[in-house]
């Protein structure tokens, strides 16, 4: 019997897990995928929003602003990339100025610090590639960008090191309310817990509705993105939003923490909770709208496109708290934008609630710090050479586009909750994320995964499940040891 089971190893679930690990108790995170950060948390804008968007008085507004304030300290404690690059909301029509002021006012009410309205000249001085029609800009210096994978993985690793268990490839099929606990029937057997946290992203309605008569409904709202090569990464330095106007809701243009340029998302409601395919219409929309706030975008430098699903709850509000007719069942549902920003605050809110409920004691051995994967590019030449001398794998570049060494890949595989698949390595190290999109490095990364984890090549996957990378071995000619026949 666990004290608490968390369904979902996305950024919300792992943030709650990490906060809970400050307390003594038996906690477990159940995840249907093979790794953390496989759903909504892996495909989003990676933006740390300032907090002027959500309705004043809403939980969204409160947690957004709180999460934003917590992010810097958390990124230092857990060693994940976060830059406070500031955001612009670009207004391109005189008659839309009142709406820009409205956003400013809303930000003031929500407690967003240092908001300013910039004139056209001030804005263009700071961001020369803003579109020529720029009239004014709402500037939020507290906004930032974060590595969504890095943050999610860091939270999970730290929770794990502080005693939280993780069960992957474990899909919850059914939840049965017992007298004083819950029984979870999963693809890997039965789990029992005194309390359950429902942090299941687009599936949160399904689990909520298993235990409650007050039904909720979550719509997967698809957002498609295009990612541009690093040579386009300096096109803008701030995150650029378009003020909704004559073109409808715009798309954002932002540098990423890794130095790429990202444009998106679209917003289309769908029914398939796994419908993470990109569409011709989606990509076209992004390409058309991108120029509305930023000019001269080098759209020829696209290296990939992807889609993510927002967990949009009908009331467009975070639902965080104990379900009225299901004591001990804690919802963390409807976590869409600004969910990533709010995650640190969501963790505290949900964990505090559970601590009170279960009277959890402090965990005296809790260690808040976690060290990320070493980035050799940040070392001095002497430090780097000492590292290679001790661990020669750091001298062997595997991913030539992102310049990722074998040493970093080995670290990604062998660290707590390490990578087991090609995508697992990619999210932890960026190997395969560059301009050739893993053309050169995938055979080499496969070889390393095969060797280190002793997984037969035929069983290696791109991202778990049936995503096997090869379908078989070539027949070898007897007596020929080389593969070149």
């Amino acid at each position: 019997m666990y004290d608490i089971i968390i369904i979902g190893a996305g950024v919300s679930g792992t943030s709650i897990a990490r906060e809970l690990s400050r307390c003594k108790g038996k906690f477990c995170v159940l995840e249907k995928e093979e790794d953390v950060c496989c759903g909504t948390s892996k495909a989003n804008s990676g933006i740390v929003h300032a907090g002027y968007d959500a309705a004043p008085g809403s939980l969204m507004a409160e947690l957004n602003v709180q999460g934003n304030r917590m992010m810097k300290a958390l990124s230092e404690e857990l060693d994940f990339p976060f830059y406070q690059n500031g955001s612009f909301v670009v207004c391109t029509e005189e008659n839309a100025l009142p709406r820009l002021s409205e956003l400013y006012e809303r930000g003031q009410k929500n407690g967003v610090k240092d908001l300013q309205i910039l004139t056209r000249e001030e804005a263009l001085f700071m961001e020369p590639n803003l579109c020529g029609e720029t009239v004014a800009v709402l500037y939020a210096p507290t906004a930032g960008i974060v590595c969504p994978f890095g943050m999610n993985i860091a939270l999970a690793e730290n929770a794990f090191l502080n005693g939280v268990e993780f069960a992957f490839d474990t899909e919850v099929k059914e939840i049965i309310k017992k007298e004083s606990h819950y029984q979870l029937i999963t693809s890997k057997g039965i789990y029992e817990a005194r309390c359950v946290v429902n942090a299941a992203g687009v599936y949160a309605d399904r689990f909520h509705n298993m235990v409650s008569e007050k039904k909720i409904h979550i719509t997967p709202r698809k957002g498609e993105y295009i990612l541009l090569d690093k040579s386009a990464g300096n096109h803008v330095s701030h995150t650029i939003f378009a003020l909704p106007g004559k073109y409808g809701k715009g798309v954002l243009v932002t540098p990423t923490v890794h130095g790429n340029l990202m444009i998106g998302p679209t917003a289309v409601d769908i029914t398939d909770k796994e419908g993470k395919n990109t569409t011709a219409e989606g990509i076209d929309t992004i390409r058309q709208k991108a120029g509305n706030s930023v000019r001269n975008l080098p759209l020829k430098k696209v290296i990939t496109s992807f889609a993510g699903l927002r967990a949009h709850e009908d009331g467009h509000e975070f639902l965080i708290g104990e379900v009225e007719d299901a004591p001990g069942f804690i919802d963390c549902a409807g976590i869409e934008s600004p969910g990533l920003t709010s995650a640190p605050a969501i963790g505290v809110l949900a964990a505090d609630l559970l601590k009170d409920k279960l009277q959890l004691e402090d965990n005296p051995s809790f260690t808040p710090e976690r060290k990320g994967i070493l980035n050799p590019a940040l070392l001095t030449l002497e430090e780097r050479n000492r590292l290679i001398q001790n661990q020669p794998a750091y001298g062997n570049i595997i991913c030539r586009c992102e310049m990722i060494s074998e040493g970093e890949i080995l670290d990604a595989i062998h660290r707590p909750l390490g990578a087991k698949s090609l995508d697992g390595v990619k999210r932890r190290t960026r190997a395969g994320m560059g301009r050739c999109q893993s053309g050169f490095c995938s055979p080499r990364t496969m070889e390393i995964l095969h060797r280190e984890l002793k997984i037969p090549m035929e069983e290696l996957t791109k991202c778990g499940g049936n995503s096997r990378l090869i379908t078989g071995q070539r027949e070898r000619v007897a007596g020929c040891s080389s593969t070149i026949l």
Partner: protein, 430 residues
């Protein structure tokens, strides 16, 4: 301090041939840096034959062709380092010396000083993302070259039921290769109304195996959330837009992409080498020298070739020219410059300009055309006067063209007073 006369980046066919030529021109301090575990570059995975018809007058496989040059490099005791990544190239404070920063397991990260550099890094394959192909992102989508490496070098089969997008040569070769390995190659789709590969590959790799080639078709959707389950093709109109109603879905577990090669010039760009947006390779003069004095380029890093024989030929010239640069034996008189202007049908030329004072008796101009042309002429005009006319029964974008220009001819036609002379090269249909 490590110091060389010439450092060559890449031990593929271009780097090897350049090294041999530079050595034979009298240079002894040559170093080749190679990131892979063996020399030979992409030839190592090209186990089919058809290489070397021009160079050796016989049909060799890729590894055999590479081996001829590896032997020549070894006979000359030219130094090469494997598993070594070049991290950057800079101009030394005491220019014209260049600094190459390299890294490997044994030596860590270190700097090498060199008088001349030959860029021979080759190219990479264009990825799915660059084409904005919509759909899911499951396992089973490979670029043709990655699949070729998996099959021929690692011994693994990427899939059993295959659709190929793009009729570049690697895609065609892989259609046959996968078939020989027992896979079912259902179709090769090509966006353009003509193939991007060599005619002989279409015959030998598709026709001989009854694999259909669908021209003016593209992939408009990829199905399968974990592994590829299907690929939808559609016919495209003149603007390459899919035509509604022409969709056809193929059940398959693998999609191979052979949709173009891009010279890998990140190192060159970091050094300040000016790149031609048409080729993504450096602009070079008659000596295959970039805008940075003493930095030369050859092979697929300069422009994508169709036959390795031409890579060797080009690299030979780059090696000789780098040697002349090191020995400082070049004519220092600036002299007359001829700007080559590709027009109508000619997409680019290598070189892009000629300094007459540095020109050999004969200069090869390499280029590709932008469309399929039948019964036409390649004509060159120097200052609007026709100086060359070459009849070509067929030209296609998949095949590289060349024109040889005699120095005497150019000398007789230039305007001596003018600093700049224009040489127009274009396709003229009869």
């Amino acid at each position: 301090m490590q110091q060389y006369d010439i450092v060559i980046i890449g031990a593929g066919p271009a780097g090897l041939a350049a090294a041999v030529a530079a050595h034979d021109a009298g240079i002894r301090h040559i170093l080749i840096l190679e990131r892979d575990r063996e020399p030979g570059g992409i030839l190592n995975q090209c186990i089919h034959n058809g290489f070397g018809l021009h160079t050796f007058k016989e049909e060799l496989t890729g590894p055999e062709y590479a081996d001829r040059f590896i032997k020549q490099v070894e006979e000359r005791h030219i130094e090469y380092r494997l598993n070594t990544m070049v991290m950057g190239i800079d101009i030394a404070p005491d220019a014209p010396m260049k600094i190459v920063t390299a890294m490997n397991r044994q030596d860590g990260m270190y700097q090498i000083f060199s008088k001349a550099i030959i860029l021979a890094m080759g190219c990479r394959e264009r990825s799915r993302g660059a084409l904005n192909i919509p759909g899911y992102r499951p396992a089973g989508i490979y670029s043709a070259g990655t699949a070729q490496r998996l099959v021929n070098m690692e011994g693994y089969l990427p899939g059993k039921k295959v659709v190929i997008l793009g009729s570049g040569d690697i895609g065609l070769i892989m259609a046959r290769r996968m078939t020989l390995e027992g896979a079912q190659v259902q179709v090769v789709a090509e966006l353009m109304p003509y193939s991007g590969g060599l005619k002989r590959n279409i015959v030998q790799c598709l026709d001989d195996y009854n694999i259909p080639l669908k021209l003016s078709h593209t992939v408009i959707d990829i199905q399968g959330k974990e592994r590829v389950e299907g690929v939808t093709l559609a016919r495209v109109d003149e603007q390459n837009r899919p035509i509604v109603g022409t969709e056809e879905t193929y059940e398959c577990d693998t999609l191979l992409l052979s949709v173009g090669l891009l010279p890998e010039n990140e190192l060159s760009a970091g050094l300040g080498v000016k790149l031609n947006p048409v080729t993504s390779g450096p602009f070079v003069n008659e000596s295959l020298e970039t805008n940075i004095s003493g930095v030369f380029a050859c092979g697929n890093v300069l422009h994508v070739h169709d036959l390795v024989d031409y890579v060797s030929e080009e690299a030979d010239a780059a090696g000789k020219n780098a040697a002349a640069y090191v020995k400082d034996s070049r004519n220092a008189v600036p002299g007359v410059q001829i700007e080559i202007c590709p027009q109508e049908g000619v997409r680019y030329t290598v070189p892009s300009h000629i300094r007459l004072s540095q020109m050999q008796d004969e200069q090869t101009i390499r280029f590709r055309v932008g469309n399929v042309y039948k019964n036409c002429f390649i004509r060159a005009y120097l200052n609007d006067r026709q100086i060359v006319s070459k009849k070509r029964p067929v030209m296609a974008p998949g095949e590289m063209e060349q024109l040889k220009l005699k120095k005497e001819l150019l000398l007789s036609q230039i305007e001596t007073g003018a600093q700049n002379n224009r040489l127009i090269i274009r396709v003229e249909v009869i």
